[in-house]
């Protein structure tokens, strides 16, 4: 199993029956493939739909896309609306979970994921509203990039929000930001607590028992 699949399969377990969920572009979109059987989850795309699903070959509609402009489909029972409604759902506390990629998460649980000054300035799109407004914010990202830990003492990149995110799922660990700091909750199969500590710049609180990650089928 590659690292992205592992992360997606762990995040999928966080989605409960009836949840309204927004998946960011890239890795987070993989999560939709692994929703446990019997759980019905509503997916929002912030360009204006609740009840989206993957594209159906041959039935693509140029007026029905995800936030990246790629074709999607609308499940029976879907609803479409304008951008003020879409972000009203996000900011107004109606969105249960947002899953986003990350560049850095720090010891205060703050996320940076929208720009690298001088290198990459894509704009924040909906990320700041999502992180500020969703009931739970789950960051799905690689533990390290180019040998450097993405779980840092203090974000050096511009913050997406000062709000403390709910959970960080990486290819090595599940980490829960709390008032006291980052708590190591789970380790990936074949990864030890020591491995995680070594690969992490931030200080981690390590409980007596750190189980192995459960994964969706």
């Amino acid at each position: 199993m590659d690292e992205k699949t592992l992360i997606a399969k762990r995040v999928a377990l966080e989605l409960a029956d009836g949840d309204l969920v927004n998946l960011g572009i890239g890795l987070p979109t993989l999560v939709a493939r692994y929703i446990p059987a019997g759980r019905h989850v509503f997916f929002q795309s912030e360009n204006g739909i609740v009840g989206m699903s993957g594209p159906i070959a041959g039935a693509e509609n140029p007026d029905l896309t995800d936030a990246g402009g790629n074709p999607i489909s609308a499940l029976p029972g879907a609803a479409s609306f304008d951008s003020a409604m879409s972000f009203g759902l996000i900011r107004g506390g109606h969105l249960d979970i947002t899953v986003l990629g990350g560049l850095q998460v720090d010891e205060e649980g703050r996320l940076a994921n929208w720009m690298v000054p001088g290198k990459m300035v894509p704009g924040m799109g909906g990320a700041m509203d999502l992180v500020t407004g969703a009931k739970r914010v789950i960051v799905a990202m690689q533990h390290s990039a180019k040998g450097e830990s993405k779980i840092v003492k203090r974000c050096t990149l511009p913050l997406t929000s000062v709000r403390r995110v709910s959970l960080v799922v990486t290819d090595m660990a599940v980490i829960e930001p709390t008032e006291k700091g980052l708590v190591l909750r789970e380790v990936a199969p074949g990864v030890s607590v020591q491995d995680v500590l070594k690969a992490t710049e931030a200080e981690l609180i390590v409980p007596a028992n750190v189980p192995e990650m459960a994964l969706a089928a």
Partner: protein, 220 residues
Amino acid sequence: MKKLIPLADAVALIPDGASLLIGGFMAVGSPHRVIDELVRQRKRDLTVIGNDTARPGQGIGKLVVEKLVRKVITSHIGLNPETQRQMITGEIEMELVPQGTLAERIRAGGVGLGGVLTPTGVGTTVEEGKQTVEIDGKTFLLELPIKADFALIGAKQADYYGNLTYALTARNFNPLMAMAATTVIAEAEDIVPLGCIPPDTVVTPSILVDHVIAQEKRHG
């Protein structure tokens, strides 16, 4: 009441240097014929307000590639390297706005509000230079309304009064923008007789729309 207008005449109303609210999300729901005509008539020094600048050859991206844009107010330019390049070289002035804030600023402009208070952006670079307001112990940013000279709207259907409907995710910023401009120009996939759009189905009421682009004559 004469709302139907030939494409070239509608775009001729837009002067160089105008501010334009342009509907669409990654070019889905953008007024494509109007954008092509802006390029053909070489309208310059435009201020463009839109969710994103699409990709280089698409929607608003066409205006960027043709270097017709002086300033952009938008939430996302990540899929258009040409916008990023012109921003870095200083050819384009850029104001990046969180997407939900952009929607509400345009809405505020269109509905007569003096601004909106949002928690989005508090404590980030978005806060710089803005007034904060504390309500019930929570901090909000005061974000100011956006209005423009023209709104360029992409609709699914228009009737001859200019009532508009939209399709699926092609709706996005269009209904908000149709309220926030001095002059509203709508392009629809189909123009239908009065009464064909039931009142409950109308999203943008005709009184907001100044011009509807006439269909091109179809031969044969």
